[in-house]
């Protein structure tokens, strides 16, 4: 199910980005890790419980202004749903 645009995604307990000084930037999770770059990093950095899904979409549409806005939106919704399914993300 796609996430609600007004909800606030937040990394689940025990899931966090490694430190800014560490490269490559990596989402650390129980028994797993996901290397992030470009848009995926932009999204995960905003999953802090303070941005709504809609705000994340708007932000990334600005950053990736050459991309088709609809495509940016559907990509983000798909990515958030994937992280949620993997128990890396909660929606509040």
């Amino acid at each position: 199910m796609p996430p609600d645009l007004t909800s606030f995604p937040r990394l689940a307990p025990g899931c966090r980005l490694n430190d800014k000084s560490q490269q490559p930037r990596t989402l650390l999770m129980p028994e797993r890790a996901l290397r992030l770059n470009g848009p995926s990093l932009e999204i995960v950095e905003r999953c802090d419980g303070k941005h709504t899904v809609q705000q994340i979409i708007t932000d990334l549409q600005k950053i990736y202004s050459k991309a088709v806005p609809q495509k940016v939106e559907s990509d983000i919704l798909g990515y958030l749903a994937l992280l949620h399914e993997q128990r890396a993300l909660d929606f509040t």
């Binding site: 025990g14 999770m29 890790a33 770059n37 990736y64």
Partner: protein
């Protein structure tokens, strides 16, 4: 997004390629101590354990964590024995976090109380993996040789007060595999997001107790059905991981993700091993973190080189299409069952010695039920001084 057609194609789960080329270690298994309040009959510790006097100091561990992070390690698994038996556990958690590692505590939950848990979370602990010996008091205490089950249920309640990842780890075998539904109920009443149902693997103490631990084929098939249904039902809530006993598998497990490819283990006294059981393999000399840096050991230790890559392989592994998926299976199991650590893991259906494994299974599966479900005379793991 951008001009790329594939979605977030820059992302990938962290994997290393199968070549003889050297990859970075990704996880450090830190066996902080062999001391433990439990005496589990399948403990993965070696038969010969280290005493407290030989344990590495806080300073040495702290240095090892820094060296590990520099070598590319992402995660430290604090294990033992019981890692909470270390009085400097909070300092160790802080040191590993400060080094930039993701800190995972694998614990029995016994020497835990509410204040200690709060302090561990405060120190930066990321993930708690709580082991269970069963769903009920009686079997759990039988397997662990201690009164332990009630305390674990208390720890589960305390964990609800904290923002921390929780995994429950149920070690599965003949005498508790029929309690899966009850184990799932315990998991669902907790705040765990991950549950491992890991069948016992037969090394060390488990190898010594194997004839009483191996589940029957009927039990195993039934358990697979239950867990498949649970995986579907709990999707998005709890991730369920199931490890089958490899004696029943068609192909061997990719033990440790390949020898010297992803993981390294440091024993309480500082020896660097490619896996938990590597000390059973004769002729391997292990280097110690007191003498050498972690990177030096990873790159040059003869023990890590021994079964790295493919050069050591025999037929049928040598020309097998699956050799970059399972890496020939487990070296320690090859030694225990075939008497040769470089042999194809005998659990593989292509292995020349597979009939030996089949004979073990056939013997057990054809034995009278009354005989194999009687309470065994367990060989318990003692506690080192």
């Amino acid at each position: 997004m951008r001009e790329r057609s594939s979605r977030f194609s820059g992302d990938h789960t962290v994997k290393t390629r199968m070549t003889t080329e050297l990859s970075n270690p990704l996880a450090l298994i830190a066996e902080l101590t062999h001391r433990c309040p439990l005496h589990c009959v399948y403990c993965s510790n070696p038969l010969e354990m280290q005493s407290r006097a030989n344990e590495l100091s806080t300073e040495t561990w702290s240095r090892v964590f820094k060296e590990a992070a520099q070598a590319g390690v992402l995660q430290a698994d604090f294990t033992g024995g019981e890692p909470l038996a270390r009085t400097d556990i909070l300092e160790l958690v802080r040191a590993a976090r400060a080094a930039g590692l993701y800190v995972n505590l694998i614990t029995s939950g016994l020497p835990m109380d509410e204040a200690k848990l709060a302090a561990l979370v405060e120190a930066g602990l990321d993930h708690v993996q709580l082991s269970f010996q069963g769903a009920r008091e009686e079997i759990a205490n039988e397997i662990s040789g201690a009164r332990s089950h009630e305390q674990k249920l208390r720890v589960l309640e305390w964990l609800k007060q904290h923002r921390i990842a929780v995994t429950l780890n149920f070690v599965i075998h003949r005498r508790n595999i029929d309690q899966l539904e009850e184990m799932l109920a315990i998991a669902e009443s907790s705040n765990a997001t991950r549950v491992e149902f890991a069948n016992v693997q037969y090394y060390g103490w488990a190898f010594a107790n194997r004839e009483n631990l191996l589940p029957t084929r009927e039990q195993l098939n039934h358990s697979v059905e239950i867990l498949k249904r649970a995986q579907e039902r709990l999707k998005g809530k709890i991730r369920i991981q199931f490890v089958v006993p490899d004696y029943y598998a068609k192909y061997p497990k990719p033990c440790m993700g390949g020898w010297g490819r992803k993981l390294l283990l440091i024993t309480p006294s500082g020896d660097a091993l490619p896996c938990h059981a590597a000390q059973v393999i004769p002729g391997l000399a292990f280097e110690n973190v007191r003498d050498k840096s972690l990177r030096e050991i990873w790159e040059h230790s003869p023990a890590f080189q021994k079964f790295r890559g493919e050069a050591w392989m025999q037929e049928p592994c040598k020309t097998c299409d699956r050799r970059d998926q399972d890496f020939g299976g487990c070296r320690c199991q090859a030694l225990l069952l075939a008497g040769d650590a470089a042999a194809t893991d005998p659990v593989c259906s292509l292995a020349p010695l597979r009939p030996k494994v089949d004979a073990i299974l056939a013997g057990m599966n054809s034995a009278p039920r009354a005989e194999i479900f009687v309470k065994p005379n367990w060989l318990y793991r003692p506690n080192p001084s």
